[in-house]
Each structure stands twice: as C-alpha cells, then as structure tokens.
Amino acid sequence: MNPVLAIVAPFLAAFTIPLFFVFRKKWVGTAVILFGVLSALTALFVAAGGEAVTVMGGWQPEVGIALVVDSLTTAFLILASLGFSASLSAAAETFGYGPWRFYVLFFLSWAATNGIILTGDLFNLFVFFEIFSVAAYLVVAYPPRSWQAIEAGFKYLIFGTVGALFLLIGIAYAFMATGQLNMAILARVLPRAPEATLSVVIGCLVVGLFIKSGTVPGHFWLPDAHSSAQTPVSALLSGVFVKVSLYALIRLAFLLFGSADDRVFFVLLLFGTVTLCLGHLMAFQQEDIKRLLAYSTVAQVGTIVIAIGCASSGGVTAAVYHAFNHMAAKMGLFLVSGVLAEDRASRDIAQMGGLFRHRPLFVLAFCLFAASIAGIPPLNGFMSKWFLLVAAAERGALIPAAAVVAGTVLSAAYYLRPITAFFGPAETEPPHHRPHPVTGAIVALLALLCLVLALAPYIGPLKEGLLAVGRDTVNGARYIERVLR
C-alpha cells in the first residue's frame, strides 16, 4: 500500500467532518468512527506492507519528498494507531459527537503524526511537526471552558513555538551548509560541513526535539498540559505525542548526528539522566493525581532518551520497547484516574479514599499499570528496563543505569500513595457513578496489551522484530542505500 495513504486518510477525515456537520449533522458520529477505523487500518496496512520507499510525484529523492517505511517506522506507526484508536474511543464516550471541532483537530494531529513518522525529508518533518503541534495546543485547551486548560494550552503554545524555532534554525543551517533536505542525502553530506556549523545544527535540532518531547529543560509545559487536558487527551499526549518527538530524535540521532559526532550521545545520556531524576523527584511531591502521572511521564521520557543515548542497537530496541510499554501503561493510568477523579469530583490524592469498593476493576487495573510503569517484574516495564540496563551496561553508562534502578524505588513509592488511598477508608461515598463501558473496555485491552508486551521477549517473532528495529535503525548506511537506490 502506498505509504502516503496513511497520511491522507486522517487528513480526509479532518477535512470532511466539517462538511458532515454542515450538511448531514446526524452522520457526524458515524463518520468519526468510520474515519477512525479507516485511519488506523490504513496505517496498520502500511506498516504491514513491509519496507518501502516512495518519492512523491515521481521526482528524484533530491527534489521530491520521500516517504520511507522501515522497521522503526513500522513500530511507531503501530504505536500511533493503537494510541489514537484508544484515545478516540475514550473521547467519543466522554465528549459525544457534538464537538465536531475536537475531532477535526484530533484527525489533523493523527495525520501529522503519521507524516512525521513516514517522511524522509527534513523540512517536511518540520511542516508535519507544526501541523501536529498546532492541533496539539488546541486539543489541550479543549473544551475551552476552564482557564487552567487554556493557560496550559498557551504555555504549550509558547514552548512548542520556541522548540519549533530551534528546529527550524537547525534545518535552515543544515540546508545552507549542504543545499539538501532529504535525510538520506544529508546523512552523507552533512559530516563534511564545518565542525562549528555541525554543532550548531545538531544543537538546535536536539534542543528543539527536547522541548517537543518534554525532556529537561524543555519539560515545563508537560505537567500543565497533561494534567489540565481532558482525560482522553491526556492519555493521547502521554501515550503518543511525546513518543512522536522521541521517534524523530531516534531517527535523526542515528542518521544525522551519529555519523557526525559521537558526543551527541553523551549529551543525550546526560539530559536523559537529569530528566529521569527530575521527573521522579517531582512526581514524588505531587498531590494531584494527574500531575503525578504527568511527571512520571517526564521521567519515562528521560528513560527513553537514556536508551537512545546508549548509541547501540540494543539501546534502540530498549527505547522502542519502552515506548510501547509506556504507551500501554500510561494511557491506561490516565484513563483510569480520569474516571476515578470524575467519581470523586477531585484530582486530589487525599480525596481518593474508598474507591476500591466503588470501582474494584478500575483500581486493580490502576495497580497493574502502576506496577508496570514502576518496573515490577515480570510486567512489561520491567522487561524494557532490563533491556535498557543491559544496553547501558554495554555502553558503560553506569550512572544513568543506576538512576534508572533508583527510579524504580521512587516510582514505587509515589505510585503507592494513590493506591493506598484507593484501598483506604472513605469519609464520604463517591458522589458520582457514571458508567464507563467504553473506557472500561479500552482499559481492559490496554491491560491485555501490557501482558502481551511483558511476554514479548519470549515470543519469537515479536522479539525478533524488536531486535530488528534496533539493528536497522543503527545501520544508517542501509537507510541511505534504500532511499537513494
């Protein structure tokens, strides 16, 4: 299947939903669901189609926009379709189909996400990042009723713009130095650029991606955005959006930075470790359950950045595996805590007493997801942590590895607080009890996904696939050869 369809399908949805709203109001709901299924299936088909390179419009790769499908792309396309589908179902239950504008933004961000994952052109990557970010700012502030959400969206806007600025400067310098924008060609010619230029290009791109992914010191927007957004959006932000920026970091690190300079991986290790520590330490002090989860996301972003910084196929395998695990567990955590916070009409952990008797299955799922994120064996989080530790040990990165294991204890400590509250006594009965069949089903599916992912190292094809992602990604020459064939 032509990879461009994976971008076109969600775009089609974004542009036709307003038409449905104007001409056939009753069909909006059906259209949203059908377009969601269509977009997910297209992306999955593209992913299943195996490796492919398409240059748009039949141009040469030097001029046209190349779309590249390789194993890393495949992995992240699957991650994005799973995350977006889960979030869409939860959003459909939470919002209904009335707010069609939300779905327009939702599908726009989906299309841009697939675009970022598929594109092989550096400027095109920037364009998709902008579409993705603009949609994300608005989605965070949606529905524009609470001032916290608007403030969070505004903060996200400022930081996202600063990040985009750095990205753009980096891309512009790269273009000025080489005259090329295709990533494969850039990978060949960029190392020949003067050293000062190279460090400016790499520095700007790295900092831009740090801000977009929420790595320290660009993490300031993340807790606000994650905690103020509506539950399905928080889940999407944590599950998919930060992962997309990390995808770009993986791709650029091994294609452009790695061949030029090994020191960039040291920078990644350093900032990854700082991010990990800061995320865990800040999460430790939160009283608001969604802010706690948000800072935990910061820490997990740090973990993935450390994995990338290991600069080995094992490290990339660990990064991708951890990205999947975090997606499954953190989306589940956000969905569950959204439901529980709604029951209590408060996000304060101290108010969360007695919820185990109120919604036992949701609370048990919360425990499962939390144990998975904290890295309690034999759940999936533990497995990817183990992969990461081995990769870090092979690289000789002892301090980051020690930070990762220390993070286990800290995250167990701060996840125990809400769990203790859930199982503890309640002063009053929870005032609300709205049934959440769809969210419940998604939480169950995510829990199942966690269990499947935990078994991944023992399932032959999955393990082989994960290792292949690492091998192919690290091998920049192979990518270049395939695009320029």
Binding site: K155, I158, F159, V162, F166, L198, S199, V200, I202, G203, C204, V206, V207, F210, I211, V216, P217, G218, F220, D261, R263, V264, F266, V267, F271, L278, L281, M282, F284, Q285, G314, I376, P377, P378, F382, W386, L389, V390, A391, A392, A393, E394, L398, A401, A402, V405, A406, T408, V409, A412, A413, L416, T420, G424
Partner: protein, 464 residues
C-alpha cells in the same frame, strides 16, 4: 524465567518453603472463620514464588522470583500495619534494584548472568543487594519493625523463609572464602543479641534474634568450603523451623492476652501449659541445648570455622546472649506470675496448636536426624563427643546462672531502644529539603524557563 534441574540446595529450600507456608497458613486459618480462605491466597502465592526463586538458574530469574515473593508478602503485612508494609516493600525493592543493576553489569544481550559466583568487581554490589534481604548490619533497618508489626503468620514466614532467600542468594554467590563476610556475620550475631536483650516487645525481641542467627549462617557460608555451606544450609533449615515456632508462640501470647509487651505478660505458663511447652522446644533449640537442632547446627558451624578462633569465640558469646534473652522471654512472658496480670481474653484453637506442633516436631526431627544417621559430613562421633557436649552446655548453663544471679539486669524496660530505623525519618526529611527547592524552582515564569532552555542550548553547543 529460566529454570534449572534442581540440586539438593534448591530441593531443600523448596521443602522448607512448603513446610513453613503450611504451618503459617494453619495458624492464619485458625484466626477467624469468615474470609480466611481468601487470606491464604497470598501466603501460598508467596510459597509458589519462593519455589520459583529456588529453581532459578540465572540471577535475572532469581530477582523476578524475589520481587514477586516480596509483593505477595507485602499484601499480608498490609493487614498488620500500612506504613510498615510500605517500608518493607520499598526496602526490598531497593535491594532488588541494586541486585538488578549488578546483574545487568554482568549480562549482555547474548546471555544472562548465570546464578552462581560473579566477577570479583561485582561481588560487593551483589552482597549489598542481597544484604537488604538477608539483613546484613546497617541494611537490616526494615527487619525489626516489619517482623514485629506484621501479622504473626507473616512474621513467621518472613523470619522463617523470606530472609533466607537472601541467604540462599549469598550461598550461590560465595565461591571463595570471604573474610569481610565472616566479619559481617560475627557483627550481626553479636549486634542482634545485644539489641534483643534490650527489647520488651516479644516479636521485636525475636526479630533481633533472627538477625543474630542469620549472623551464624553468614559466618558459616563465608568460608566457602563445602562443610561451611552444609553448615549454613543446615542452620537455614533449623533456624526457620524453630524461629517460626517461636514467632507463632509469641503471636499466640498476643492472641491470648492482647499484648506482646513482656511487661504485661507472665501467667501463660499456667493458663496454657501446652503453649509453654512448645515455646520451650523452640527456645532450647535456639539456645543450642544438647540434642536439639540448634545444637547440631552450631557444632557444624564451629567445625567449619575451626581455624578462625576469634570467630568461634564471638559466636559463643552470641550463644550466651541468646540463652540469657530466652530466659528473659520465658520468665517474663510465661512464668513470672503475680496476681495483677490480666486474664486471657482470647482463645487458641486446635489449628494454632497444630501449626506449632508441626514446627516443633520438625525441629525435633531435624535435631535428632543427624544424631541417628550420619547425614552431615562430620567425623563419626563428633556430635556426641564429650567436648562438643560440654562446649554446648557451657553457654546455656552460664546464661541461666547469670540470669538467676542478676534478674534485675534483664528486666524488660519500658523504653524502646534506638536502631538504624530511627534514623530513617530524619534522613528522609533531610533528603526532602532539596526536593522542596526543586519544586519551588518550578515557578511558572515563562521567561525563566526560556532562559534555562537557552542556557542548555549553549551548554550543548559547548559540549559538541
């Protein structure tokens, strides 16, 4: 998890896990009728994970088993005291994390580190990681509180089996003689006894004896010789059985009189003579009276340490302290009757007695076995040699005489004695202070944030 064909060590551990869990669940089941079935699930889950740990063939699967067993015990301890269970879980997780870190340093994507001796550079990390579980000095901070606050069946399992999993790891780890470990063992043996003598809470007293007895085991296994390993394994089994019995009898006292404080007890010897008898079986074994399991294991340990005269002396001293401490426990817990002691409030069922009788029988069996059959790699007649008998009797007699001469010295106090655990709260506050600064640095000022980002950018330029 990767399994191995079990050797004698693994099989012994599995058998021990089954016996200990059986006795604990008998005791737990006797407490209340409703809901007790469901209470037994975590106990047997613990048993399952303990068996998996004993079967593990790599350090990674050992850690997985260890953490799972920790989690299942955590759910039992929660019923005793919420905060204690959290301390237990976090302490164990920290130990397992150190262990995981050390294991990852020795592993690669091609193969995991097999369970067994590790490269010398990793040895200290492994000792620290296992040391949290095995309560090495300084790393024992969780043990007294957890053992005393947990429900009795969990205390018995903790002392009887959970700490032994760390010892089992040490047994697999130590291949060569390790003098530092020997020193740690002696320190543990003496420190545990001294602290135990100062306690007034019956279960806390027993917890410190666990540390002390683990010291004997660590000293034995630090020799790295086959005899030392056999001695350690034998004492693992012997200690699990008699300490389980002692914890169950302390728990029975609590069930009968509603208190574990030795200051408020002292008529159980008359109210429940059978309980007193069972307690005496355990106490005589832990003190090492001739022909008990403790006697046999101490002889094996001492013969493994023959060329370490000072170590043996240290262990003798610890033995003397043990006798003193159990004289105190027996006298103030069961015998010092005076009219003002409260009447029993509770009731001990047949199941509870059954659980204790099971452990008492096992203790007797383990004590009698080596005397009747040459199970242990010792020269024939060692166990019944007059010198051995005299050696074993001296600390017991001396202890009893000392206790009889100076009863006031060993009267249970009313105050608690400080230990490492008292340092935890101030240490936590100290560590929380920089955290507050970190939180305050998130002021919400966009200009400051962007300045930080630019600073990071410049730093990155500089480093590239």
């Amino acid at each position: 998890m990767t399994m191995t064909r079990p050797d004698n060590l693994s099989l012994t551990m599995i058998a021990l896990a089954l016996v200990m869990t059986g006795a604990s669940s008998l005791f737990a089941g006797s407490r209340d009728k409703e809901g007790s079935r469901r209470d037994l699930v975590p106990l047997w889950l613990f048993c399952l994970f303990a068996c998996l740990t004993a079967l593990a063939s790599t350090w990674l699967s050992f850690i997985i088993g260890l953490e799972l067993s920790t989690l299942s015990l955590f759910t039992i301890i929660r019923k005793g005291d919420e905060a204690t269970s959290r301390l237990y879980l976090l302490a164990q997780l920290a130990g397992a994390s150190v262990l995981l870190f050390a294991t990852s340093l020795g592993s690669s994507f091609e193969g995991n580190l097999p369970l067994g001796p590790v490269p010398p550079g990793l040895f200290p990390l492994f000792v620290i990681g296992l040391g949290v579980k095995a309560a090495l000095p300084g790393l024992h901070f969780w043990l007294p509180r957890t053992h005393s606050q947990a429900p009795t069946e969990a205390s018995a399992l903790l002392s009887g089996y959970a700490v032994k999993m760390g010892i089992y790891g040490l047994l697999r780890l130590v291949g060569d003689p390790s003098p530092p470990l020997l020193l740690l063992g002696i320190v543990m043996a003496l420190y545990g006894v001294v602290q135990a003598l100062l306690q007034h809470d019956a279960k806390r007293l027993l917890a410190y004896h666990t540390i002390s007895q683990l010291g004997f085991i660590v000293a034995a296994l630090s020799t790295g010789t086959p005899l030392g390993r056999t001695a350690a394994l034998f004492h693992i089994v012997a200690h699990a059985l008699f300490k389980g019995l002692l914890f169950l009898s302390a728990g029975s006292l609590e069930r009968l009189y509603g208190s574990r404080d030795l200051n408020g007890l002292g008529r159980a010897g008359r109210d429940a003579p059978l309980l007193f008898g069972l307690f005496l079986v355990g106490a005589s074994a832990i003190a090492g009276c001739p022909f008990t399991s403790g006697y046999v294991s101490k002889i094996v340990i001492k013969s493994a340490l023959t060329d370490q005269g000072q170590a043996v002396l240290g262990l003798q001293l610890a033995g003397l302290g043990t006798t003193l401490s159990f004289c105190k426990f027996g006298y103030y817990g069961f015998w010092k009757s005076s009219g003002d002691r409260p009447e029993p409030r509770g009731f001990l069922g047949r199941q509870a007695y059954g659980a204790m009788a099971l452990l008492a029988a096992a203790t007797a069996l383990v004590g009698a076995g080596p005397l009747l059959y040459p199970l242990l790699p010792l020269p024939e007649g060692t166990l019944l040699a007059p010198k051995a008998l005299v050696d074993a009797t001296i600390p017991v007699i001396a202890g009893i005489v000392l206790f009889a001469l100076f009863p006031g010295l060993f009267r249970p106090r009313h105050k608690d004695v400080a230990d490492v655990e008292n340092a935890l709260a101030p240490l936590g506050r100290l560590l929380l202070f920089p955290l507050t600064l970190l939180r305050l640095s998130h002021t919400g000022r966009l200009r400051a944030y962007i300045a930080l980002i630019v600073a990071a950018l410049i730093a990155i330029f500089h480093s590239l």
